[in-house]
Symmetry: C2
Subunit: 200 residues, 2 copies
């Protein structure tokens, strides 16, 4: 019979290879690293995983991840509850917060509408969104889904759904990224940068 | 104060980003995946890590990873103990075993000599190697370190050290990989493939 890894090792490699972006070879490399070079790292990682699994949960208001009753942004009394930014995923919140250009609150969809992947609006985190807009007297909803086909479709779908509530719905601007180069910009971005030009 | 992740989540991202090949962004993506899409996967991964950490250890004879007293290869009575293959790391054993071209036993160095990284021969797993060669009447030692500068240097160092024991020391052949293309082969490989040519 061909040589095989001991079952405990095979199990670890299998669990690691199920993570996104890790193939069987990378999982194998990680397992060997954890069991040879950095043995105590595997224990620390296991503890961090178990602690995060037991303590981290979605914020019941916006869907951001938190270890408290509400997330730090929803709990912050200084944030403008009348300005709501809708994002695809939790990691988008940190990106927007880093820009320091937003003082409102968020709503995490947990995905985008993608018929090809079988994801319809019913699979998005939309429960409570309309009630939230009404109760907090939201004046503007910023659609900050990614500038992809699915992100645009989701933004359009939600805009149509939310406008009857009497709220202004806006979309992040498209255009040239800062530090970008016209030579390497794609046609679609350049076309949107042109049509969205501003007077100086 | 700028928005930050809850400490439990920040800890998990930090632990993940310490793994080889994972930067902060990839670690963040993994953490979100484990805490949102696949919550039970994080518990399973944690358990697999803890079980592997407590049960997997290096084989006292060859340095391969095992959950038994000796590794499956050292415990196999059908392997030729007179033929010893020296490899850099545990993962190389599986690669060689998959080739089904070797029936001897292994010795894992756990690294290569690399003065630039401060790794001298004293940091390699060489304890017991000479005793093993003597006691098992090893007739041939195959140096299967990688065909890199460090791998070659390590092979030459060990060959010099082991030859006085009266053992034949050989090196894996260099040449064109199967399915390779002359157009894309590097000069060093082609040069070695030419000088190592065999009569048909």
């Amino acid at each position: 019979m061909a040589y095989q890894y001991p079952p405990t090792l095979a199990k670890l490699i299998n669990e690691l290879s199920r993570l996104p972006g890790l193939g069987p070879k990378a999982a194998q490399r990680l397992a060997f690293f954890l069991l040879t070079e950095k043995r105590q790292a595997s224990g620390e990682l296991a503890r961090a995983l178990l602690e995060a699994e037991s303590r981290i949960h979605p914020c019941p208001i916006c869907g951001n991840l938190t270890d408290s009753e509400r997330c730090a942004i929803c709990a912050d009394g200084n944030r403008d509850r009348g300005l709501l930014c809708i994002v695809e995923s939790v990691s988008d919140i940190l990106s927007l917060e880093r820009s320091q250009g937003f003082s409102g609150v968020y709503h995490v969809l947990g995905g985008v509408i993608s018929p090809l992947d079988g994801v319809g609006p019913e699979k998005l985190n939309l429960t409570g969104l309309e009630a939230r807009i009404r109760e907090n007297h939201v004046t503007e909803v910023i659609m900050a889904t990614n500038p992809t086909v699915e992100g645009e479709a989701t933004a359009l779908y939600l805009a149509k759904k939310l406008k009857p509530l009497g709220v202004k719905v806006s979309r992040l601007a498209h255009g040239m990224p800062v530090g970008g180069n016209l030579t390497y910009a794609d046609e679609a971005t350049l076309s949107l940068a042109l049509s969205g030009r501003k007077e100086l």
